[in-house]
Amino acid sequence: MITLELQNISRVFPGTVALQDFSVRWEGGKIHALIGRNGAGKSTLVNILTGALAPTTGTMLLNDTPCTLRSPADARRTGIAAVYQELSLLPDLNVIENILLGRLPVRKGMLPGRIDWKAAERTTRELLARLNISLPLHTPVRHLSVARQQLVEIAKAMASSPGVLLCDEPTSALSHQEARCVFELLRTLADHGALIIYITHRLQEIRTLADTVTALRDGVSTGTVPSAAATPERMVAMMFGEDVRFSRMIDHSPLPTTVLEVRGLTRHSAFSDVSFTLRAGEVIGIAGLMGSGRTELLRSLAGADPPDTGDVVINGRICVPRSPAQMMHCGMVMTPENRKDHGLLTLLSTRANMTLPSLDRLAPHAITNRTREEQVVARMQRELDIALADPEAPVSALSGGNQQKVVLGKWLATDPRVMLLDEPTRGIDIKAKAQMFQTVVRLSREGMGLLVVSSELEELLLLCHRILFMQHGRITGSADAGSMCLETLLARCMESS
């Protein structure tokens, strides 16, 4: 039986103690959940376990023998693999190449080193079949949705049949149905003796999935309990040291004025004939499965991929989406689902990221004004509660959830009339989520119209006035969110698919 023991692991970054005296003993054949708010140090721990980061102090014992890892490759040889929080695929390579990267089978014979593509394809097919995932093998992964990329990422980690598997929020981009196949997979692996560490912000997943729960608060462990004892209240208390409550928050009625009207919008091979109206102060959710065209619709509305036909009317003015800049000018912005590739400029500072879309307004005569920019950052940091040590440091030094908040803040700072949110709560802890909901509610009270796409259906119930159902690129119906329960919503999503 595999065991993994950590003794007094600490990791210090300039200005932050990400992990402090962390000790734990994990056993194989089980799934161990690791929870903690954004910036608690979870990803730091994963990076230490994969050799990507060296601990400042502390020892790691694998099967009761001390082991030092120098690199992720080193870790993989030792049998430790990881599904990282941020996707780390090579966008132009196809699924086979990504999954087998570094282990592509080669032919023997005349020309040594020649890749055996037949064998590679066979291996990949077998692996995917074993994992019960279906993916287009020869498509460059850049053309896959985030959810499917996430599946590729998991398959890639599994390709080496590791003894220890670290999963850093692998399901944050997946709907519950899609996540379920990941769970079954992890369960099977655990039953075969693997040691699985599973990080998530979706606490409801933990009861069904995990065997033990370990919580981190500001880099310090607040204990490990068996999952049977981990009630939601207990977990929240372990993470925050206080109570966080959720209830349906949206209680105002939308204003009578229409801010966004969409008529017969079509983009070939993505969605067709989409029509709806969004009123001022209204929050509309879009529910649908992966591949239903939700993201494509939002991107088209925002001008990222212009639609082929149809009308978009904002505040009574017809705006044909041509580019993001133009739609931003019309008062409509989108927060993209993929924060690393579309949302953030990882090389730039948090300040530069946060102010990028609103720079024109913050910079009189095209000359930047640092004080004004700092005011924006300070305002967003306050409104969204971003844990930000240094606004001048590259945004990539923030924890995943805090990066997500920067993405929201950056478009919020443009003071839009209509906001399109694509998976806005991806990877943020429940307290931050409650806060983000409050922000959304406040914005809608102030008259903004919001369109939210989320794979977490209960979120839509808490947050929206109305829910539109989308299937195969068409809107198939709409319902009042206030009078719905999760089961009916789920059922409607699954209908005829």
Binding site: S43, P324, A325, A352
Partner: protein
């Protein structure tokens, strides 16, 4: 864009280098030699500042060396035509010729940008084609022989002094001040970093990607034309064979200055230090009578060392970047 202690490593190395040379090389530590170094680095320096913006924006311009030769020949050819065939006085002909050479540079850079954005041809390819093309065009204009239509006072531009400082060095200073203001304090400068860092995220943030990239390419091509004019003034002729291989020296200076070839990060201040670094090394080795072949070898080694020094601190971050 932020200033951190490790950003000054190269300055430190430069200072150490200067002190060493002051001790070792006779005549290094003198005002005369300093001005000499300044003059030698100015023309490449002017272009390197533009190249920094191009590289930060995620593009490259390989045509700058040929563009210098071409601009010199083109100015000489136009001056000759205006004064000869058209009978204009030189006082009119020369400024018009210079203006036209600069405009030509601007248009060529814009063309590269247009092809890059419209047809998605990488600037590497377009400017590689331009590099050969312009070099050939310079030969065609001059018929293989230097053109010498310039009046004597023309030499004041590239060879003259203003308040004791070489004119090209003053131009370099102006370009440095302007480019560092643009890159650090304007919306345009921020956009350059953004499009080079992540083109798609920049586009989604409403940044005019095409306009930004085209502008930096056009500005750099214009700066190359300006350097070409200065160069022709210094040697008082339009010569097709000057400035061969400059593009590599210039790119080396930019990279030494800490700008990343993959775009999105770097600074004109760093480039300025990089340019001085190369200038001082060459000057020092010449003063020390180092054999020219050895000079090349030493330069190669130093370029690599400087970049390694610059990179040492990034490695850790890049590692996390890949893993996080």
């Amino acid at each position: 864009m932020s200033r951190r202690p490790h950003h000054f490593i190269l300055e430190l190395v430069l200072v150490v280098l200067c002190i060493t040379l002051a001790v070792l090389a006779p005549g290094f530590f003198s005002a005369e030699n300093a001005l000499n170094v300044l003059r030698n680095i100015s023309m490449q320096g002017i272009i390197a500042l533009g190249m920094t913006m191009v590289i930060v924006a995620g593009e490259i311009d390989l045509s700058v060396g040929s563009a210098v030769a071409f601009a010199g020949c083109w100015t000489a050819y136009l001056t000759g035509t205006f004064t000869g065939t058209l009978g204009w006085p030189p006082a009119v002909a020369v400024p018009v010729a210079i203006g036209l050479a600069a405009i030509t540079g601007f248009l060529l850079g814009s063309l590269t940008g247009f092809i890059r954005m419209r047809f998605r041809v990488p600037s590497f390819i377009t400017t590689l084609a331009l590099m050969t093309g312009l070099s050939g065009a310079a030969e065609l204009i001059t018929n293989g022989f230097p053109l010498t239509p310039f009046p004597e006072w023309y030499n004041a531009l590239g060879g003259g002094y203003l308040a004791g400082v070489p004119v090209p060095a003053l131009v370099l200073l102006c370009v440095f001040l302007a480019s560092s203001f643009v890159m650090n304090h304007t919306v345009f400068g921020r956009s350059v970093y953004a499009v080079g860092g992540n083109e798609e995220a920049a586009r989604l943030s409403g940044i005019p990607v095409g306009r930004t990239k085209t502008t930096v390419l056009a500005v750099t091509a214009t700066l190359a034309a300006v350097a070409g004019v200065l160069q022709s003034s210094e040697i008082m002729s339009g010569t097709a064979t000057t400035a061969k291989g400059w593009e590599l020296d210039i790119i080396a200076a930019v990279i030494i200055g800490g700008t990343s070839l993959s775009g999105g990060s770097g600074s004109v201040r760093g480039t300025m230090v990089g340019v001085m670094f190369l200038g001082v090394i060459i000057n020092g080795m010449t003063l020390l009578n180092v054999n020219e072949y050895w000079q090349h070898v030493v330069r190669g080694i130093l370029i690599l060392t400087a970049v390694l020094l610059n990179r040492a601190h990034v490695t850790q971050e890049a590692f996390r970047e890949a893993a996080a």
